[in-house]
């Protein structure tokens, strides 16, 4: 048995036989076959070309709806390459002038173009050559796809695909009936392929590097993506252990599924609202699936990402409207665009900063660029009549900022009134509490807004002066620190005086070991990523707040 360590991408535990993904498929067709039947070779090329374009259209549409324009664009460009007149002429000329078969003509054409790109220097030349190779490979595989596909259909056995790397298009074309998972040498948690794998719920481990060796082909393999481990020829004990783990995993999911439709209420009757965070359009399906109470944090940045210019009001309106309608009256908290030099979007054209965490970011950019801010507010207001939308403003440090925001919001409302455009007049607004300043003036801020949402990541970073990216000190990033808990308590107490609610939308909200504490301090909404919603619901229903609350609050005084 060999144990390989990588990065778990998605899914849980699967077993199967390892099959190498044929990257070199194309080179097998490079042999020239003499033929004078030019017409049927050209016909074969034309059919394959048409099929390849249809495939790319399908892949483009799938990626566009599942993942987004940013990742989909390359497939459109591949299609344009196939259509390119120079490429087409080259292939047909080789067929007629050299009496060659179509596969060879495509191979040679591809070689010639690759060569032209490879000769030039620069890192991105390789990329261009590989794009050409990718489309050429696709055309050739379309010529023989009927025979190839049949061969694969016969094998009903569970298969694990092993490869140096998988392209998103290749992943989409795998036979889902037989392929149980894939393992790759390259790749990371956030690559296009990984995002897609999660959306498709296919089990995968990436980043195995040299550990993954060609001689493993045909071996029995077990993938444990929860631990990021791949077992080659696992022994009986390991298989038994993994099967048990898989069963427990399934049981837990089944158990959690039984919590769908149940109320978010503690043993002593305190109502809590468990919502989901959305950072991508593709998250929406998962939010409905996990039966969340609403969207507690809609990170509107993704509407701005993967583009060359600001989205128009109309484009934004369509997205917000779609989300509001899809949630059918459940609350949707849209956070206005929160970017900075650490979360960069190119066309915002932000100057480099020495200390981005404390720089030009979040609401500061919005207040400095009112046109962009107003376009987003108009889009959100217009969408508000289609559901239950609330607006959340990030990075607040002062009362003045809120007054400015409200002023701008009123201007936008007046403009809409003048044009007789409808919006929800009672739309709630809230602010992120993520700076110590906001915590200590929360009594004043609470009088101006309808709700608070605590952003734990930034609050901890600013309060404990710890940068999580810094390996030397990231152990000090401690959500249990009494300073943090006292701040949360202060915020909740001040909110209560003004009769507004407090939610937590940072990563820590999903930490079950803190749920009791949060509820005791007075938090009444937890927003977590979709896979954690049911787990937190289960936890909430096991807690008796009035019984533990006293001890938890006493502990804040260090008198224990």
């Amino acid at each position: 048995m060999n144990v390989l360590k990588g990065v778990g991408i998605s899914g849980n535990i699967v077993f199967g036989k390892l099959k190498a993904f044929k990257k070199d498929f194309f080179s097998m067709n490079s042999e020239k076959i003499y033929t004078e039947d030019h017409e049927s070779e050209i016909e074969k090329y034309k059919c394959a070309r048409k099929l390849a374009m249809d495939q790319l259209d399908a892949v483009y549409k799938k990626v566009l709806s599942d993942i987004g324009e940013e990742h989909a664009a390359i497939f459109q460009i591949h299609r344009m390459m196939i259509e390119d007149i120079d490429y087409v002429n080259s292939v047909t000329n080789i067929i007629t002038d050299e009496n060659a078969n179509a596969e060879y003509a495509v191979w040679l054409t591809s070689r010639n173009f690759e060569h032209a790109f490879e000769n030039a220097e620069g890192d991105y030349m390789q990329q261009r050559a590989s794009d050409i190779r990718d489309v050429s490979k696709r055309i050739v595989s379309c010529m023989s796809c009927f025979s190839e596909n049949k061969k694969n259909e016969d094998k009903k056995k569970a298969m694990i695909i092993g490869s140096d790397d998988l392209m998103p298009s290749e992943l989409l074309e795998l036979n889902r009936n037989s392929v149980k998972g894939f393992i790759t040498m390259l790749g990371s948690k956030n690559s296009h392929t990984s995002i897609l794998a999660r959306a498709m719920n296919i089990t995968a481990v990436a980043g195995l590097g040299d550990q993954l060796r060609p001689e493993y082909e045909g071996c029995n393999v077990a993938i444990d993506s929860l631990a990021g481990i791949v077992y080659i020829s696992p022994d009986k004990t390991t298989v038994r252990r993994l099967k048990k783990k898989k069963e427990l995993c399934g049981q837990r999911q089944e158990l959690l599924n039984s919590f769908k439709g149940k109320e978010d209420i503690t043993l002593d009757g305190k109502e809590v609202s468990i919502c989901a965070n959305v950072s991508h359009v593709s998250d929406l399906a998962a939010v409905c699936e996990c039966n969340a109470r609403g969207i507690g944090l809609f990170r509107s940045e993704f509407v701005f990402m993967g583009r060359s210019d600001y989205p128009t009001e109309e484009e934004q309106f369509k997205i917000y409207k779609k989300v509001a309608k899809q949630m059918k009256g459940k609350p949707v908290i849209i956070r206005t665009v929160d970017v900075g030099t650490d979360k960069r979007i190119r066309y915002f054209d932000l100057p480099n900063e020495v200390n981005p965490a404390m720089g030009y970011r979040g609401i500061r950019i919005c207040l400095d660029r009112p046109l962009i801010f107003k376009a987003q507010l108009r889009a959100i207001l217009r969408a508000s009549i289609f559901g239950n939308i609330k607006i959340l403003f990030p990075m607040i440090c002062s009362l003045d900022e809120i007054l400015q925001i409200k002023q701008i919001l009123n201007e936008v409302k007046e403009e809409l009134d003048a044009k007789k455009i409808e919006y929800d007049g009672k739309l709630h607004i809230g602010i992120m509490i993520e700076t110590p300043a906001a915590v200590f003036i929360s009594d004043v801020l609470a009088k101006e807004v309808n709700f608070f949402s605590i952003g734990t990541n930034d609050l901890i970073q600013y309060s404990l002066a710890v940068d999580r990216q810094n390996d030397k000190i990231n152990f000090m990033f401690n959500p249990h620190h009494k300073a943090i808990l006292r701040m949360i308590k202060l915020v909740c107490d001040n909110a209560k005086k003004s009769g507004i609610i407090v939610g937590i939308c940072g990563e820590v909200a999903a930490d079950e070991s803190m749920t009791e504490t949060f509820l005791s301090l007075g938090v009444s909404e937890l927003s977590v990523s979709a896979p954690f919603v049911l787990g937190i619901r289960k936890k909430v229903r096991e807690i008796n707040v009035s019984a533990v609350c006293g001890d938890i609050i006493r502990a804040l005084s260090f008198d224990d």
Partner: protein, 87 residues
Amino acid sequence: MIEIEYKIKNENGIHARPAGVLVDSVKNFESDIKLGRMNDFDYVNAKKLLAVMGLNLKKGEKIKITIDGSDEKEANFVVEKILKERF
């Protein structure tokens, strides 16, 4: 005939994506649109993707684009916009 001169600012040079955007946006104009390095006779048809990519244009290089035909004004408007945003 309209002539445009431009210095490439895209960090990665003119790779598949910017080239694709250019070709896709100009292919339906009737005008003849050519693109090449300044002071170089090696101009290519801006409606052909592989030809544009094949120029291997890098950041800092100066290029010239010529647009000639009945709809050259409209084409010029589109080309200028793409240069600014993607090149």
